[in-house]
């Protein structure tokens, strides 16, 4: 006889293990999750002008590191989780899981764990890589960077569930994910630092979901983020996360539309 009563952690681990197996068997998703976030930053690297960066107090390393973390959140966490949520819903897997002992939030969290693990692993690899090869230097305020990454993962996991709520199929999911992906890539300081944007535009762009994450990670590395600025960024991230979570609670669909 195995364990008599299941625990939330045990149930989520069991689900995460199955999702990990599925991720390993889904070559397309695996490619998008592993390869794209690792390669994209280097295409950005060739586009950045070192002189402009110096003026803004940045180096290629401190510019690239937060961008790479951002790409990882966008593709490894957000992009692949939308696919997971939509596919499981359309296969009626979510409906079946809901007939068992798993609670609703455990289903979403458990299914997210493999993508979250990949996102974290990539962040670690990127950080080590940027320090070792791109002179990013040692972080001035590591706790801000860690806070940024953690908030980013929770926020983009929740945003993936929101996007999945409004996507009927895996194909529409790809279209539905485009606005946030482009907005994040262009407006959240991944390619164009806020410091070189016009002031008015920068103050709007700083409120985009990915922006506070980039600010916290970059500021955590350069040490150039005041407590007030860090707090401000963290509040923006928390607000987006809370909005996403309440949107999921309200709109997430557990079964295909008839």
């Amino acid at each position: 006889m195995s364990t008599l009563t299941t625990t939330p952690a045990g149930r989520m681990t069991s689900l995460a293990r199955a999702e990990m197996t599925l991720l390993a068997r889904s070559k397309g998703t695996l490619f998008a999750a592993l390869f794209v976030p690792m390669v994209l930053p280097f295409s950005v690297a060739s586009a950045v002008d070192e002189a402009d960066l110096k003026e803004a107090g940045l180096s290629v390393g401190t510019m690239l590191l937060p961008s790479a973390v951002g790409f990882s959140l966008i593709f490894a966490v957000y992009g692949s989780l939308i696919g997971v949520f939509v596919a499981r819903r359309e296969e009626l897997v979510l409906k079946r899981l809901r007939t068992g002992e798993l609670r609703d939030h455990e289903i979403l969290l458990g299914a997210s764990l493999p993508a979250v693990a990949i996102g974290l692993a990539q962040t670690l690899v990127i950080s080590v890589g940027c320090v070792a090869f791109l002179d990013a230097g040692t972080p001035g305020a590591l706790h801000y960077a860690v806070l940024g990454v953690l908030l980013g993962i929770v926020m983009f996991g929740a945003l993936a569930a929101v996007t999945a709520s409004f996507s009927r199929t895996s194909e529409t999911a790809q279209v539905m994910s485009m606005p946030l992906i482009f907005l994040s890539m262009l407006g959240s300081g991944l390619v164009i630092p806020f410091e070189v944007m016009p002031d008015g535009l920068a103050s709007v762009c700083e409120r985009l979901p990915l922006s506070p994450v980039i600010q916290l990670v970059r500021g955590g590395w350069t040490g150039g983020l005041s407590t007030g600025e860090a707090f401000d960024a963290a509040v923006t991230a928390v607000v987006w996360t809370l909005l996403s979570v309440s949107a999921v609670r309200r709109w997430f669909r557990w079964e295909p539309r008839h």
Partner: protein, 321 residues
């Protein structure tokens, strides 16, 4: 200790578009009983079972499973029930073993995976991906998962749809064993013989309402038996013995074909045959038929259909199964 394991009172379910799939039904299922919800596609069987499983909240009415509300008190109910949905819900790329292992990890007191597969005869297919299973094998995988936690209450939504005759027989035997072992079972089916074979009691659902309920014998007893035959040339219904006098409750004629309804089949048949012998005539196409669940089922569908036509509402046979 409550003996009513499932208790449903005036239950209603309304879908987003305003379609009322369940229109005020009530029934009870006692401990160790096997209760069947019988109905055509679109009768509201699955809509009802989903409310009992706690997958959705009812629009009105009350559900109690093991004394709890299955929707709001999910944590109290789920560890004690097993659910077999009408359609799988398995990731296509996992193997049978991986699928069951995942489910076992989410189920209190789960049997070992190998044992769960053995119970439903899937041991040989353990390493096969779910997408390569036949429809019948998928149903058995679903059953293995419903049974893995040794549930007190088992919900089976069309458990044998897609199975061949042998698979159906095996599932029936398994369900009977479980019932004999004390498991309370609620199953839905559109196979009359399945309800006849398994159910202690059943309810016939039609368009979201219970049209008949009771043991198979009760439901059948409420139906008339039939005697039908062809009268020879020159004979008419009026030539028969007085119909009321031989237990006939109603009759219809189509050309020379006569169809009598009776609640006293032996008396009606005997009087009719004695009359025919004495009159020296042969009744063609003679058919003496006791009431059956099938007759009950068809009559309910027919009568409800007529009522619908009369009120000018469209049929909605295929909606929200």
């Amino acid at each position: 200790m409550t003996d009513q394991v499932i208790d449903v009172t005036d239950l209603r379910r309304v879908y987003g578009g305003g379609f009322e799939a369940v229109r005020g039904i009530s029934f009870e299922v006692g401990r160790g009983e096997l209760f069947a919800l019988l109905g055509t596609n679109g009768a509201g069987k699955t809509s009802t079972v989903e409310l009992l499983e706690g997958l959705a909240a009812p629009a009105a009415g009350r559900v109690r499973v093991l004394g709890h509300d299955p929707y709001t008190e999910r944590a109290a109910v789920r560890p004690r029930i097993g659910v077999m949905l009408q359609e799988g819900g398995f990731p296509a790329e996992l193997t049978v073993t991986e699928t069951v292992r995942m489910w076992a990890g989410c189920t209190s007191g789960a049997r070992p995976v190998a044992e769960a597969l053995d119970v439903v005869g899937l041991t040989k297919r353990a390493g096969v991906r779910v997408k390569q299973l036949s429809g019948g094998e998928k149903r058995r995988l679903d059953l293995a998962m419903a049974l893995i936690g040794r549930p007190e209450v088992l919900f089976l939504d069309e458990p044998t749809t897609g199975l061949d005759a042998e698979g159906r027989r095996e599932t029936w035997e398994l369900v009977q064993e479980l019932r004999d072992g004390g498991t309370t079972v609620l199953l839905t089916t559109h196979y009359l013989e399945e309800a006849e074979e398994l159910a202690d009691r059943l309810a016939i659902l039609h368009e979201g309402r219970i049209a008949a309920e009771g043991s198979v014998a009760d439901v059948v007893a409420a139906q008339p038996s039939h005697v039908s035959f062809e009268l020879p040339e020159g004979y008419f219904v009026g030539d028969l013995p007085p119909l009321a006098g031989i237990g006939v409750t109603g009759h219809e004629t189509v050309g020379r074909l006569v169809r009598l309804r009776t609640n006293e089949l032996q008396r009606t048949a005997t009087e009719l045959l004695v009359w025919a012998r004495d009159a020296r005539i042969t009744l063609g196409s003679l058919d003496v038929r006791a009431a059956s669940l099938e007759e009950a089922f068809l009559r309910i569908a027919r009568e409800a259909g007529t009522a619908d036509d009369a009120s000018g509402r469209p049929g909605r046979k295929e909606m929200a199964a």
